[in-house]
């Protein structure tokens, strides 16, 4: 076992949050080591670099690790009444490898769910405290959008203009105008014009299958080049086995298997866990010790609990006219928060967004609607290029019974345990989901759809895995404080999607990265404390 030279900060995980923390801390001058269990993705192999991109997205690049089984992956089971179809990547850039780019800020009310609506929990910080970091992050990734949105407090102009609406967006705008509803161009983590050395989006669409030209702001592109230039020591193929403790009870570093499968140890004054909503509780539980018998930083018993995924669905409208659905950003060019804030008359707490997307690409459409045999082509031709999809995302409230546990029956390639997820929608989520789908259908009908189909609420898409090591003021009801510092281990930080106490009703990447930057500044501001404790 090598005895590593010490770093100021050890970051475990190089995804959306880990990348942001590494870059921010190294901007300040900190010596940072980052351990990433995966590797860089070969951008020439990204699905969208190939004509058969849809097929590649189902096989080697499948979002479910049980299908993909890269060496960096670990097994994840799905149990419960509403099992989750897991969506995650273990690589530099993390799950943003399969990113749509929707990039919303939370609303101020999202931070005060319990106080305002009597459900869930409040966050230990406010929108106003996070807002400066949203702004910094938006500049880093080059967000596209438009300031002046009446659905949130005033803010500075965004770095890049909104993506083109395309025909689907134009039809939906007409529908919103007819209904008299609020709408706004969707903020997207996409460089719609050349920005900081990255090219302007050229509207190839289907962003989640990879963006070979590099306009989709995944963490491997938006943060890592600068972090590496700053001198961050990124160690790929480094599978962390456990966080280590010093004799003083503080985190000392981490033991990991290197690319040759040989155990190594990295030490630092501060340790940051940024492995995502599944990976973080897995690592904390694998780091159980006599001092932390139920897992590191788990005196609350909440590590792995309160797993949230969002209530999500699609409604799909069939239109007489062709909609040019083959081009334009896929994540939805126009969106509404018409039903985002709680309205007691709707019969449930919290709300949802709707975001209009092109229809479906050929293979996925055929698998959905085209029966095999003599009727195949007629069914397919009726819908290809004549559909518009409405993505809908609503708040999933925290429930302790929704959780992740270690699975010692299914191990990874290093003999470390897999995970089991347990998930069931609660009654509020079911009501919200039903109403959400009804409104999605309503918009499409107002846009002129001659028929509408929808996907219902099952299976549960595990695109956003949140809440499994939540932050809060009370050590008995949360795992970290408002700056992501573990209540139980003073120099251990948990800074990723697991720290979110509630889910909001929007895609979470923007909030995850803003929290990460805020955490990084907090670590830096208190650097004297960490040095003296070393």
């Amino acid at each position: 076992m090598n005895d590593d030279p010490s770093a100021d900060v050890l970051v475990i995980g190089s995804g959306a949050s880990g990348a942001a923390i590494c870059k921010r801390l190294s901007d300040h001058g900190a010596r940072v080591v980052c351990l990433e269990q995966g590797d860089w993705v070969d951008r020439a192999r990204l699905p969208k670099a190939h004509v058969d991109w849809e097929v590649r997205g189902r096989r080697h690049w499948a979002a479910n690790p049980n299908v993909r089984r890269w060496p960096s992956d670990y097994p994840v089971g799905s149990e419960g009444d509403d099992p989750i179809d897991i969506y995650m990547y273990n690589a530099v850039g993390g799950s943003q490898i399969g990113f749509a780019g929707n990039y919303w800020r939370f609303a101020p009310s999202d931070f005060r769910v319990k106080t305002l609506d009597g459900v869930g929990v409040d966050w230990p910080l406010t929108y106003e405290e996070l807002a400066p970091y949203y702004t910094i992050n938006e500049a880093e990734v080059g967000v596209a959008g438009l300031a002046g949105d009446p659905c949130g407090p005033e803010r500075d102009p965004l770095p890049n203009p909104p993506a083109p609406l395309g025909r689907p967006g134009e039809l939906l705008v007409e529908a919103y105008e007819k209904l008299g509803w609020y709408w706004w161009p969707t903020e997207q983590s996409i460089t719609t014009q050349a920005y900081r050395g990255r090219p302007a989006c050229d509207n190839r669409g289907w962003c989640t299958f990879g963006c070979p030209q590099g306009s989709l702001s995944t963490a491997d592109l938006a943060y890592w080049p600068s972090a590496l230039k700053n001198g961050v020591d990124l160690r790929t193929n480094a599978r962390v086995r456990e966080i280590t403790l010093g004799p003083d009870g503080r985190a000392a570093g981490a033991r990991y298997y290197d690319r040759n499968g040989v155990i190594q140890e990295a030490r630092a004054a501060v340790v940051v866990v940024a492995c995502g909503g599944l990976g973080t509780p897995r690592l904390l539980k694998m780091s159980a010790s006599p001092a932390h018998p139920d897992g590191m930083a788990n005196s609350s018993g909440l590590v792995g609990k309160n797993l949230m995924v969002h209530v999500q669905s699609f409604a799909v409208g069939l239109f007489e006219e062709p909609v040019d659905g083959w081009r334009g950003t896929w994540g939805g060019t126009v969106s509404t928060r018409q039903f985002y804030e709680t309205d007691p008359e709707r019969g449930y707490a919290r709300g949802f967004i709707m975001s209009g997307c092109p229809g479906w690409s050929p293979l996925n459409l055929a698998l959905q609607i085209a029966p095999w045999g003599s009727g195949h082509h007629a069914a397919f031709d009726e819908r290809i290029n004549h559909e518009i999809s409405m993505y809908m995302c609503g708040e999933d409230l925290p429930e302790e019974s929704n959780r992740v546990d270690l699975d010692w029956e299914h191990l990874d390639g290093f003999g470390l345990p897999g995970l089991r997820t347990h998930h069931a929608l609660n009654e509020n989520s079911r009501r919200l989901g039903k109403d959400m789908i009804a409104h999605g259908r309503q918009v499409l009908e107002a846009a002129g759809a001659k028929s509408v189909r929808d996907f219902g609420l099952a299976p549960i898409w595990g695109w956003h895995l949140l809440g499994t090591a939540r932050m809060g003021d009370d050590p008995q009801t949360s795992v970290t404080d408002a700056f992501n510092r573990a209540h139980d281990v003073p120099n251990l930080f948990i800074a990723d999607s697991s720290s979110m106490p509630t889910s909001g009703g929007v895609n979470p990447s923007s909030t995850i990265q803003a929290l990460a930057l805020r955490c990084a500044d907090h670590i830096w501001d208190r650097r004297r404390d960490w040095s003296s404790a070393e």
Binding site: G57, R59, D202, N203, P322, W326, N385
Partner: protein
Amino acid sequence: MAYDRKQAGHKVAQANRPDYRLEVGRAEVPVGEPRVFRVLDAARGATLQAWVATLIPADRGRPDAAALGAAEYIDATVSEVPSLRPALLNALEMVERIARTKSHRTFGDCTPDERERLLREFQRDGDPDAFQMISDFTYEAYYGHPEVLGALEARTGWRGLGPMKGGPMKPFDPSLLARVKSMSPRWRKLSTEREIRA
């Protein structure tokens, strides 16, 4: 990726359930490459070619799935994932048996209508999961093929190769927002100290 795999009858991929939907992740088989059969012998290869041509027949200027190498694509997949071979081989055996019993000839010698009828019987009473596997792989081989994607444009306007190239689009017009910009704020202001710092 993202919306992928969501379809009727979709099962969540599990670590603890043997399933072609899981096993196939290990088989990276580019669509459209020239191939010969590696696992199937000539007779079984012919049965599979007749099968995939029945699943997606020629129509509207588009070839059938066999003409595009779907059978060889399936063979290449099970070549990379041996655990899928038994299901495929058994399915081919069963369909030939049904054809001989019901139509008194090989599956490949049956008329298109007969083949469709026989496959529906196999799908219902034979091995539905094996049928679904062959069907899914056939759809992959077909809709990932440049010839199909190119043909789609002439018939449907869908530019099958467009996602590879992109192109300019009309920029967003902010004047569209005139009505929305006049709306009163649509977010809840936290008016009391209790709300702001509960």
